[in-house]
Amino acid sequence: MSLPARCYDKHSREGDSFVGHDISPKQVRRIILSQSRRASVGHIGSCLCVVEILSALYSSVLRAASPDDPDRDRFILSKGHAGLALYASLVLRGWLDEAALETFCGENTLFAVHPEVGVPGVDFSTGSLGQGLSIACGAALAARLQASRRRVFCLISDGELNEGSTWEAAMFAAHHRLSNLHAIIDCNGQQALGRTSDIMGTSNLAERWKAFGWRTQEVDGHSVPQLVAALAAPSAGERPHIVVAKTVFGKGVSYMERGIPVTQTHLPVQPVNWHYLPMSEHEYWLAMEELEQSN
């Protein structure tokens, strides 16, 4: 069909040999912690748990010559509250100047908690849960109609699966055989007010998505090699692809993983604390010390 509307097909993927970029999870975490502390904002646990997923995507999966390459693979951070983790990945990919992050959560900044499309490398503004996968479906359908090889990746949270619109998109993608669509579920077991298992259970996720017609894989969400193996492989078959990535909320900072508000002792111990809390100076240094001592 004669639908191509832009110049996508001028960009051959032949010779677009994807060269891995060195994006170390440790560096991503360093930026997340330092900017969260500087801006004194929360959502730290939500950012830390997707570090390996973003590191895998931006180091070895997403094919893009530049953030505005029209035929680049698209990435949609549907769980927009991990925006800082995305900014950190974009800095390390070389698409953002780290100095720009000094405005993160500052007055009149483009760098809010939730990402805005005006930031280089941010393909779509997100922040309202349950919307990213629908947009990803449209982007994937467009690529197919335009006979482009570009692929679409979308990171969603397990809490986000509460949204009915996510399942509208799940059915649409399977029905239209969007095999160039790759979703990743950040399966950290946490949502805004508690554990997903206590609020709206998300057990047997792989089975659920399989029943919806998706090709499913389960990986350790903190294993970059596993993530790369699952996501860098070419799209296959006719089904959309979803990777259920088991993650740990607050990964890499043990007191966050355990939900301990170290210096805010009036609060109960619960993982959801680090969905909201900014770090105190002491907590920041504890986190950085642990990070620097890690491998």
């Binding site: 639908l3 309202s128 449209g138 982007a139 059915m171």
Partner: protein
């Protein structure tokens, strides 16, 4: 206007491979001409309006011009936040078609009435709203707005037989159209109900009262300058719309009168009460809610004779 919409879209699609038609599984005996001529550009997105707008956002970002079709409340209210965070935030040329404006779905009942779509969507700067009064104007409006870079919402009537005398298919974005001139009172109307304003004006003439009838067919840009110019000589104006009165045509006219310092007293005709659960054909709904030609006549007589 439904036939006018589909016919016009087919004509535009012949020359523009970017155009796609998405539907939320509605449009029986209406959308078939497009589906048959452009099967690969027709997409039934299922009964999933939120996802349909999200998909349209992704398509538009890649260069397509998706028209997303459903019944007015399902096209506007259900996916409102998707509209805001999708094509509006991203400034993308998604076209949303809300079919069955006002009470047009009659006996289908209140869930199907399009009484709030304009007021609700008018809260979104960056979303152009187009509300044609008849089929000829709908065709012109769809053509004129085809290449707007941002999103557009069309509020269309199903009825293909309505024709507003004097309008002659005129449409200009951000402009108001005068279809009848008189010096005693101004009637400002929007959508299919413009025909009732013309009828009301005709009846007023029998009482020796000459009415100007103004058709407003778009918001964002609002026809503020036109309305200010047209209303300036009048002491009385009546706005008429098959919408709840909050935020729609009456609100625009009131704002123009207030902000331009006009010495004009406005009477807003629209839906003011919550539904009592009853339903009925459009004409009877207009009558029930005081929007038909006779009601407009009565309101105008009251305004002119008693000084409102």
């Amino acid at each position: 206007m439904r036939k006018a919409f589909v016919d016009t879209l087919c004509q535009l699609a012949c020359d523009d491979p970017r155009i796609m038609l998405l539907t939320g599984d509605l449009g029986y005996m209406a959308l078939e001409p497009f589906r048959e001529r452009f099967p690969q550009r027709f997409l039934n997105a299922g009964v999933a309006e939120q996802n349909m707008i999200g998909v349209a956002t992704g398509l538009a970002d890649a260069g397509f011009r998706p028209y997303a079709y459903s019944i007015a409340p399902f096209a506007s209210l259900r996916p409102f936040e998707f509209i805001r965070n999708g094509p509006v935030v991203h400034k993308l040329p998604v076209r949303i078609v809300g079919m069955g404006a006002g009470f047009e779905y009659g006996y289908s009942g209140r869930t199907h009435y399009g009484l709030e779509d304009i007021g609700v969507l008018r809260t979104l700067p960056g979303l152009t709203l187009v509300i044609p009064a008849d089929s000829a104007q709908a065709a012109a409006a769809i053509r004129e707005t085809r290449d707007l870079p941002g999103p557009v919402y069309y509020s269309l009537g199903k009825d293909d037989t309505i024709s507003v005398p004097g309008l002659n298919g005129r449409f200009e974005l951000g402009k108001a159209q005068v279809v009848r001139e008189g010096r005693d009172i101004a009637l400002v109307a929007m959508g299919s109900i413009c025909q009732e304003a013309v009828i009301g004006a005709g009846k007023l003439a029998g009482y020796g009262i000459e009415a100007t009838v103004v058709v407003v067919s778009s918001f964002h840009p609002d026809p503020e300058d036109d309305l200010a110019h047209i209303l300036a000589p009048f002491r009385h104006a009546i706005s008429v719309e098959a919408q709840t009165v909050s935020g729609s045509l009456g609100a625009l006219v009131a704002t123009v009168i207030a902000t331009r310092g006009l010495a004009c007293c406005l009477h807003v005709l629209g839906v003011r009460t919550a539904s009592d659960g009853t339903s009925g054909v459009q004409m009877e709904r207009w009558r029930k809610y005081g929007l038909d030609g006779d009601s407009i006549l009565a309101a105008a007589l009251c305004a002119v004779r008693q000084g409102l």
